[in-house]
């Protein structure tokens, strides 16, 4: 039995993967559990593909090895595809129904990826697809999509929902606490529905 529960959060620089991983880390502190995580800083943040590794109950290094993640949370469909090899066969993916076509596609005139074909390429995983933008708007700010995604994935995370929501409150800017708490709950409800359907 693996000693830690390993979550990979992926997205595009600027989407708030680091804040989402901070919430998980803070929730571990609240529950008095060990945690290790790794982030992308520096040049990689300039609109590039970014990843945050979070190992709940981790005691060693912060890096998750491909093929061994327990959960992949993707803020963009293409990033889900890029990092799906971190999951074992049939692994658990919670993905935002959102696709930003990289500028490289236009520059190098590559085939433009589309939602349908990406979802088809992910269909052998246990996928919950979330319309985070709609739920974030409903919560009160489009900027809360990262917390919506965390809420949607929270049913799969071995941390108490109460600790996660408290961690959200501690980690987000003061003015946005209520919006983000709402985003977390809306995401959680939607995630539960998605799990029921699957």
């Amino acid at each position: 039995m693996k000693p830690s529960f390993d979550i990979l959060i992926v997205g595009i620089g600027g989407q708030g993967t680091v804040l989402a991983s901070n919430v998980l880390g803070e929730a571990c502190i609240i529950e008095n559990r060990t945690v290790r995580s790794a982030e992308t800083h520096g040049m990689a943040q300039r609109g590039g593909s970014v990843e945050s590794h979070v190992r709940i109950d981790g005691r060693f290094g912060s890096l998750i090895v491909p093929g061994t993640a327990d959960l992949l949370i993707a803020f963009d469909l293409l990033e889900a595809l890029r990092y799906r090899h971190y999951l074992p066969a049939g692994g658990r993916l919670v993905v935002n129904r959102h696709l930003v076509v990289p500028t490289s596609v236009y520059q190098q005139e590559l085939a433009v990826p589309d939602e349908e074909s990406i979802l088809a390429a992910l269909s052998d995983l246990e996928v919950t697809c979330i319309d985070a933008a709609r739920l974030a708007e409903e919560a009160g700010s489009i900027l809360s999509q990262n917390i919506v995604m965390l809420g949607a994935a929270s049913g799969d995370i071995p941390l108490q929902p109460g600790s996660l929501e408290e961690a959200v409150r501690r980690c987000v800017p003061k003015k946005t606490v209520e919006v983000n708490a709402r985003a977390f709950r809306l995401g959680r409800e939607e995630g539960m529905l998605g799990r029921g359907a699957a």
Binding site: E39, G61, Y106
Partner: protein
Amino acid sequence: MAVRYLLGNEGIAHACLEANIDFASGYPGTPSSEVIDVLRVQKERPFTVEWSTNEKVAFENALAAAWCGLRALCTMKHVGLNVAADPLMTSAYTGVTGGFVLLSADDPFAHSSQNEQDTRRYAHFARLPCLDPASVQEAHDMIRDAFALSEEFGLPVIFRPTTRICHSKGDVSIGEVGTEHRTAAFHRDPKQYVVIPAHTRVLHQRLNEKQPALKKRLVELGYNRHTVRGATAVVTSGVAAAYVQEVLGGDVSLAVIGAYPIDEEWLRRFVDRHEKVLVVEELAPVVEEAVRQVATKTEVLGKMTGTVPYEGEFTPATVADAVKKAGITPTTTFPEASPVPGVPPRPPILCAGCMHRPTFYAMRKVFRDGIFPSDIGCYTLGLQLGAVDTTICMGASITVGSGIARAGEEHPVVCTIGDSTFLHTGIPGLLNAVYNGADMVVVILDNRITAMTGHQPNPNTGVTAMGVESTPISLEAICRSCGVSWVETIDPYDLPVLLDTFRRAKERKGVRVVISKQPCVITARRSGIRRKAYAVDPEACRGCGACRSFGCPAIAFSGKIATITELCAGCGVCADICPSGAIGAEGRQ
């Protein structure tokens, strides 16, 4: 005591506060930058913090503070230590009175760096102690104690975290912020601080005499420790130790090296008890060389036997592979897992509205056959726009440019350098180019800040690390005083003027400087500057693709027809590029 979820660099910064630090300086460089960034904004302990103009400057300032008896920290990335190597080497001779810790952060896999050099080599070279943490908690604890170690031996202590320490997070136990402050006092002692030959020969001998006791002390402090369990052993260091512990069974002996120099007697006793020793460390084979020196009959495996990679950063899977190759069974095996092929890449890219993009665009338009030496900063991403031909180290755009021009290469040379990099090591190159009569254009990309490493202020920003307004400086005046007679400052969002300026520069000889000036789009947004977004009139767009070559992430395409996404920062340059006049500010017909 409290437990907090901290970034490695935050843990390091907090430990400095616990250790009663009174002076900190540094030059930004990933992965080291957040240490000073945390120290400069924290309110718990008032003391002097500065972003210096380069690493040598930072080092000498902190060294002097330590000569005055203060506890001082100096931070930089590994390649910054090349710049600071001159004072480093001799500071080992002069020593210090106050505790002096030099943090030089290594970057295995060169996530954000131009090479994979190993700071431990400098420690060996300078004969200085070096601490090499294996976890975020250890990084905190080591640096908290490093100031006392420095004072005990009267030597600067090098602290070498790697990217996966600096930029990892974890639950970290921290202590109370120290409340003691020292008063700086310089005690004149030429035999210590004036390294003329007669003095330095004595100091060199003293440095060498300190080594045996230092090695013993590092074992006593528990930084170098081992557990004997069987006939086979793994010796490891730094963050690799965490990966080793993740995959190693209980029947294999383990030695963790957390500090250098390694006590050879201690190491020999450990190695001699084993038939086979595998050395697992990132970057250079520093520990492996030490093990090989002391091994008599023991078989030693590592980089030199091809068992462990020389390059890149490790993961538990890398280590499990090495362990298997060495004939040891790891407790965990990892599945074969490779990325899905054909996923379009998403590399980092200059932001929508970044001032560098139009500057590169215009430069390439006017100097179609130009050679474009460049430098270290966000603008190195101009590589994607075909506007970066060389990058080697900080400040080398102007010098490589003048070298190419003076070598007799006939194509026009147009180099680009950021404001912070220009102030770091660009100025001597410019002075040299003028002095020796180079024929070239120097473009200073002046976005008023050190952007790539996280928007640290520099003398061009107008504010210090501690938030104090600073004396304004003029890049134009600096260039003129270096002897450049043709200096033009332009707004890169004004494409016609930009093109015209480059055309006029092209007609002249000698060193010509174009200062392309506009705040970084990220800092502009943070300071409340909002520009109206632009939009494409789909009726007017002819799908010519002229805007495609601009490479802005806010421009997308449905078929051949362009659209502008919500990423638009409103620089408006694409409207000037579009030959059909199809792009305009939103809401304007």
